[in-house]
Amino acid sequence: MKQFVIPAAAALLIAACSSTPSGSDQAGGAPVETRGGPGVATVTGGGVDSRGLPAALTDPKSILSKRSVYFDYDSYEVKAEYKDLVTAHAKFLTDNRQFKMLIQGNTDERGSREYNLALGQKRADAIKKMLALLGAREDQLESVSLGEEKPKNEGHNEAAWAENRRGDMLYSGEF
């Protein structure tokens, strides 16, 4: 068993110079870019939701405050227990045409990242299709997938996986 470890200083040194053997090769540096700059924290004052959402969407007593649909392993079928929830959101979107919704599909960590991205998309699409059938307009809806990349629960057991096999219905200002 052998280990090859080069101190960071050596790597820095190598990166610092750009000449290459035989002078003709382009194996130069890869400049750094930083994306997703610092955000600005929003303070919430008395009673007004920071995102400007009506109380009906945020009141814990309202069914509309619930946003998640959970799925079985490797499945993108919306289970019967979520029918009332999806129906309530479809009605809200029908009554409030100025609102737009982003539906994010998620999966557990098992399997290929890209396949999971497609599986999460199927989940988001299934919720979107149901919302559209119940009256929401196509231009109010966008379904995207986060695959296994943004787990709500970072654990590696069935309980965590079940929490991560999920579609979230988010209104403008929430994503």
């Binding site: 101190p7 200083a9 050596a10 110079c17 090769d25 750094v32 870019e33 994306r35 098992r110």
Partner: protein, 431 residues
């Protein structure tokens, strides 16, 4: 190994001032490579310390020895502290006595233009002749690159296949809950540089065939969007940002088109787009999942993953469209097809007894061989000479990279102390 460290430390002190300016561009965490399996009949090669400046010589000879040893096909014969230049007389019987089949000697000297020149000769000890000899002009800071070039020549002469020591590897490091970095390092894990830092995930890097650009998926806009990133300039272009998800970029071998997966028309469908994102043409029509496109090296077919048959399996379709052929049959989860550079072998991930394992299929006979015994293998990528397959896997709860030869004999593990390593993509040969 202490030889490498002391020599590079010395060089490090020399250039400490120069290196500070580039601190930002260089990865702090180092990728370490551990050999966990080697070929059965390794060629014994003696590599004497090169003549000329001792510190420079130590860098070059250490790189050559490290590269060749790590290949798994070559065994390094101990040469003690012997210094031999390319002009030194060769005592063939003595080297044969020490069990070497080949001998390398060389020197580091000043070139005509004031830079440094690494010269070497490779001798066949049994036939008592010179197999190869060459010189690489280099700056002091690029001595490691010269070492990789020399190792490539030696490897090719001795094994008959091109060496991959001068190639580069891209991978993603997650170093914190909201810190993702796209790294580019040399094939030996050294000289890592950061191409992109983001608070959101980065997945599926894919090298352009000329090695100048990377396509990848970034979630920096809260949804998957495909970018093409020119490494030398850092310029980025959005290639696919349609309504819905945009993912799984794969370059066509001619570098003019990319296959991408778009959900804009419902479901996940494979499209061909020009490298600037224009002219999207839909390739798949089935309503099921269609993803993970990968071109055959001749550019004629796109291999992909689909659940159209009820479980995820690998299929292929001609780039011009037409009938879809199923490629994988054994088991209920076969994903992420990648075709070897010679077009004969497909690497993929197969679920066996609940574990996700690297598998290879001989495309002519359809014979499948499982190459790993781990549980969470992902993202196979071939070395450009087709000898090795690099994958992401998990060790002790952390993401590491693992390289295995296509015959399963040679195994290496690449890990980073400061985070999870994932999503490897092996770059092409340099020009």
């Amino acid at each position: 190994m202490s030889g490498i460290e002391s020599a590079t430390r010395r060089l490090g002190r020399l250039f400490a001032a120069a290196s500070l300016a580039l601190l930002q561009a260089t990865a702090h965490a180092e990728l370490t490579i551990e050999i966990t399996g080697a070929g059965a009949n390794r060629i014994p090669v003696a590599i004497a310390d090169f003549g000329g400046d001792a510190a420079s010589s130590r860098v070059v000879t250490s790189v050559i020895r490290g590269d060749l040893e790590r290949s798994g096909l070559i065994r390094i014969v101990d040469t003690g502290s012997l210094v031999m230049t390319e002009a030194s007389p060769v005592a063939y019987p003595e080297w044969r006595g020490r069990g070497a089949d080949a001998l390398v000697a060389g020197s580091i000297g000043a070139s005509d233009d004031g830079r440094q020149e690494a010269r070497f000769r490779l001798y066949d000890v049994n036939k008592q002749n010179v197999l190869a000899g060459s010189a690489f002009v280099t700056s002091k800071a690029m001595l490691r690159a010269a070492g990789h070039r020399i190792a490539d020549v030696i490897y090719e002469k001795l094994t008959g296949e091109p060496g991959i020591f001068s190639t580069r590897v891209a991978y993603v490091v997650r170093s914190g809950p909201a810190r993702y970095e796209l790294h580019i390092s040399d094939a030996d894990g050294q000289n890592a540089q950061i191409a992109l830092i983001s608070k959101e995930p980065i997945i599926s890097p894919s090298w352009s065939p000329d090695g100048s650009r990377l396509a990848y998926v970034s979630f920096e806009n809260k949804k998957p969007v495909v970018y093409v990133h020119s490494l030398a300039s850092g310029k980025r272009a959005v290639v696919a940002n349609f309504k819905g998800s945009n993912s799984a970029p794969a370059w066509a071998p001619d570098g003019r088109k990319l296959a991408v997966v778009l959900s804009k028309e419902g479901g996940s469908q494979i499209f061909l787009v020009n490298a600037d994102g224009s002219g999207a043409q839909r390739l798949t029509s089935d309503g099921a999942i269609n993803t993970e496109p990968s071109f055959s090296p001749d550019g004629q077919y796109v291999y992909f993953t689909s659940d159209r048959g009820g479980s995820p399996q690998i299929y292929r379709i001609a780039v011009g469209g037409g009938e879809v052929q199923r490629v994988s049959f054994e088991g209920s989860y076969n994903v992420t097809p990648r075709i070897s550079p010679d077009g004969n072998t497909m690497a993929f991930i197969s679920r066996r007894d609940g574990s996700f394992r690297l598998a290879v299929m001989d495309l002519a006979s359809r014979q499948v061989q499982i190459l790993s015994d781990s549980h969470k293998d992902e993202s196979p990528t071939f070395s450009p000479n087709g000898r090795m397959i690099l994958i992401a896997t998990e060790m002790g709860g952390r993401g590491v990279l693992s390289a295995v030869s296509t015959d399963g004999r040679i195994k290496q593990r690449l890990s980073i102390t400061a985070g999870d390593v994932r999503e490897p993509a092996w770059g092409p040969f340099g020009r």
